[in-house]
Subunit: 241 residues, 2 copies
């Protein structure tokens, strides 16, 4: 098997084009490719061309496309959560968490769409769970409620973000077609068969947008409504979190 992927490299040999390959360089180039030419531009052949090396050279660094995508996803998670420190307001804290996760996913949709199905169990994820549950505990929820509600919160955020990312990862043609559908197909419906849709015809263009923020706001509203301590401007029953 020619695919070995060692952990450290000592002997570096430039490609014919004079580039020194490395795992970091490959991941960065892949992200640049996706950013510049859309998610569908990422293929082993194109990546090889962009790097100035033979496509098969990448198999010295990654076992296959999956491995490469996971490496990219790993980097995205790290970047998204970097430097996040929640403040006193638990609602604001959860909101920023949600937006950060989504921004990280949307920045690299194809990788996110692929990786959102998996659970990492790594340090970044554990820290995020700690942060989120701490926020809900600080809101006054009992441990059982805080745990269950955190699960609901993060699942909503992750699944919505994954959905947005998956949509972004579609080829531009299909994305535009899906978007256009709300102004084409849905505008020409028979009013007798579809009275409700006819009544909101003017508003259907919003169906092409993302509902992420609204979903998060509705969820936070419901959480705030369920929180046992409605007023807590004194956020310090000893260990503040």
């Amino acid at each position: 098997m020619p695919t070995r992927v060692p952990q450290e490299r000592r002997r570096r040999r430039p490609t014919r084009a004079g580039v020194l390959l490395s795992e970091d360089l490959i991941v960065e180039t892949a992200l640049r490719l996706i950013g510049e030419h859309g998610p569908e531009a990422l293929s082993v052949r194109r990546l090889g061309t962009a790097l100035g090396c033979d496509p098969s050279a990448l198999y010295r660094y990654f076992h296959g496309t999956d491995d490469l995508v996971l490496a990219i996803a790993d980097r995205i998670i790290g970047d998204a959560m970097a430097g996040f420190v929640p403040g006193d307001d638990w609602v604001a804290g959860l909101r920023e968490m949600a937006l950060r996760v989504r921004a990280g996913y949307l920045a690299h949709p194809r990788a996110a769409a692929f990786a959102s199905y998996r659970v990492t169990r790594r340090e970044n994820e554990i820290r995020a769970v700690e942060t989120g549950i701490a926020l809900l505990l600080s809101a006054g929820f009992a441990p059982a409620d805080a745990t269950r509600l955190y699960l609901t919160f993060i699942d909503t955020v992750l699944s919505h973000a994954a959905m947005d990312a998956a949509f972004q990862a579609l080829p531009r043609q299909q994305r535009d077609a899906d978007h256009q559908a709300w102004q084409d197909v849905y505008q020409r419906l028979d009013p007798a068969s579809y009275p409700a849709l006819t009544g909101v015809r003017q508003e259907l263009h919003t169906m092409g947008n993302s509902s992420f923020e609204e979903a998060v706001e509705l969820l936070l509203e419901a959480l705030a409504g369920r929180a046992p301590a409605r007023r807590a401007p004194e956020p310090d029953p000893h260990s503040s979190n």
Copy 2:
């Protein structure tokens, strides 16, 4: 262009293997293929083999792979919503809609992964949108609000259902491992570094469950809280706006 996809077929001609092709048969075979051998098993060539016809024959029925995918997604929606007639209670109606969609996705876990974020533009989807928006209009929401909130509702339902389906589609080994993680990794954390997680240690087993119902309930709670007319059993000031 050989791809024309007429709406009705009069002349049916059996394939060399003696099969009478039809859009329904193709979609059903595709779902069976995906269910048996995973989403990556769906290719035009394999589908042709499974149907006993030349791969290119499928282009008489679908404009391309994307069109086929949309047809599959729409079939799942149609099966899920078949026979659903909402009653008076709009909250109950949305709840049942959510549960139906989820059940439909869980019935085809591997297809759900790529079908959940598409706009099918087909009849079953249109009918579902009509039903949902009618429910929100009956709750007293203005057209713009009803449209936006329906989008939020259905996106939450779809993305959560897709996530559940993706988890179901994992091999049992991996599923069990994810479940077990909450009782392994997360039980052995350093209390000083992870005080919140340590405090809810007893409850973490619930993290392996689905949060679908809770997410829907929270969303419905928030919607009920925003509904303009709390009590409106008289729903007919004719042209509601």
